[in-house]
Subunit: 421 residues, 2 copies
Amino acid sequence: MEIRKPITVAEAVRKVMTAAGSGKKETIHIDQAYGRRLAQDIIASHPVPPFDRSPYDGFAIRAKDSKAASKDHPVTFRVVGEIGAGSVFTGELQEREAVRIMTGAQVPEDCDAVVMFELTTEHTEGTDKYMTIKRPFSSGDNISFAGEDTEEGKVLVQKGEYINPGVMALLATFGYHMVEVAEKPVIGVFATGSELLDVNEPLQPGKIRNSNAHMILAQIERAGAEPLYLGKLPDQLDLCLSAVGEALQKVDMLITTGGVSVGDYDLLPDVYKEIGAEVLFNKVAMRPGSVTTVAKTGEKILFGLSGNPSACYVGFELFVRPVISHRSFSEKPHLKKVKAELAQDFLKPNPFTRFVRSSIDLTDGVLRVDPSGFNKSNAVAVLAYTDVLMVLPGGTRGFKTEDIVDVLLLDSHEGSEWPWE
Amino acid sequence: MEIRKPITVAEAVRKVMTAAGSGKKETIHIDQAYGRRLAQDIIASHPVPPFDRSPYDGFAIRAKDSKAASKDHPVTFRVVGEIGAGSVFTGELQEREAVRIMTGAQVPEDCDAVVMFELTTEHTEGTDKYMTIKRPFSSGDNISFAGEDTEEGKVLVQKGEYINPGVMALLATFGYHMVEVAEKPVIGVFATGSELLDVNEPLQPGKIRNSNAHMILAQIERAGAEPLYLGKLPDQLDLCLSAVGEALQKVDMLITTGGVSVGDYDLLPDVYKEIGAEVLFNKVAMRPGSVTTVAKTGEKILFGLSGNPSACYVGFELFVRPVISHRSFSEKPHLKKVKAELAQDFLKPNPFTRFVRSSIDLTDGVLRVDPSGFNKSNAVAVLAYTDVLMVLPGGTRGFKTEDIVDVLLLDSHEGSEWPWE
């Protein structure tokens, strides 16, 4: 039997990232941009506000005309025009003249203050309109000045960032009708294992349904790539080889689940050999997922994940996801690492680095991590409640409630530059 | 000018939820289920594991046959069969007979222990195969017993929960080939405002590009509903009425941005009146977004959000999102509320409840909230970095670094039952 030499998680991830290649960009319509990653910086193409604007409904005036106004000596202005949002007042203002102005409209050139509607009284004389105020205003009062929120030319969001609703608003504001985004890498998924039934098949003795493929397809989507399910890999080497060869024409990366151990039925090691792929590693000093294998052929990476659901899940998040993020121009392609307080004892010793599928609680403002679903590495139910991977370093002898541990966040669009030691 | 009476945020949300109606379900293929919300519980349709299974590659034996094994007195077993994962051994075992077994395979009925491959030595005599062990095993050693992870009939995930990759694994495992999920409500969006340019138009004096619509469409998607952009609402009341009437045929809810103030150009109040919609409220004691209006006609809710980008953003998250979640069967339809520590002073007094668009940091395991982008309510750039809404109660006079405040999480799939006091 082949003896495999385990490498550390850090070393394994480093090898994968060296092989990760580079991303491609594509230009899409803004309507398709939500949830993608930027392949260009968003730059303020104009100042914000683009002009001196009125934040209120009211009247634009020359502040000096209001100087004498007081409760006892109200000052009356003749209203010589009206500006709705989107229109512009082009006339000239004489002494004690005002312009009715709506929220968001451009303040006339001659004016330097806005009086809120509520602070005025109006009256008409014939066809002439007037408004009266009882206090003075200073130059600049109630004006949002051009550029006070954002200067022209400023980089507002950088290439590689996730496009959330706020980023969508910026794209629209600055006229990014078409947006350069990272092309989604296409990731093929093969399941292996003669014990696997399809989801619509009834259970049979000795068999289980194929859950890994459906899980991984969702993980691929969560990570921002395009999943392509390729079905079950045949049991015979020659059929297996041609299936893999065909798949590699269609995908940017290929994931297999199962078949990577050293058991008699594990064909993947032979597949890698036959197609001349370079095996980057085939054993990692971690639990679960020690048999995770990564190989490279040409520009394509082949991820051989374990057939065990939890090991498969963890292997994807540690090794496949950062490649997707890197190809999407993220500068922080790895899972976001933060500290958390253990919510219960975890007394199991950890000869190897252990990744415990856990849920988190933030209610009190302290990040608490609960590995309560932890049981054994094939307990499938715990994955439904998994928000984080708790990282317990190899060589540690167990942890107690309130101990501080590292956790890797799974649902964050933010990442880590390099979470490994 | 109409005088509006503000109601509290809690009261406003309560009114909206009373009008929220109920969700519909639809049955979809598992391949489409990721990211949706369950409209049925996931129940374990069989125990997990479904049979006594081997967690390792090795040999299945009768433990009692190994009783005498030791370093000095190894015991040899005749290997009478082989079980790959997915196949079943149907023969009977005699004394000191073993069956070669692969990871995941069903343990033969006669066996009660599995010996890991690494702890054995093999040899052959003619066509007969043998394996030898140097230590005894107890009944139950290295067997994952049927049902030890999950009993049959157990509810594993409840109706209303978000379908993440782990939930996908469960759906597949238990044969949910077709899944009942919440139908996504269709939400129409109209923009209003004569100052609005389309994203592809060049900037013009006094005008700005329409950023709210693109932002809201993304917020609708993030909240799990189906956005439908309906363009700009006409400026004339009659055209406006027929546009709204037509839209209501196509959507479950209707959002407008802008046009809800009491300004001369704000048509929405008249629209509500003309179509006979019941206005639930048209003023809320909050900043930003005090002019947020919600009306109901038949089963359809009309959300009149402010035209100010930040007010629009907040209005959506507080009032529209919980209706979407409620119709998706979530028991916790409101934004998840947690405590956080202020990362910097926020000295502005808050006469009304204030929702500050903020970013959070979790690095040290303590949730810190940073309102650094806070500036004025129309500062568009801050929304790109907004993860949470910080809630500062009305009547407070400012907060200092390290003060504990409430925040509402925007990117969480988990919610609150009722975050308001």
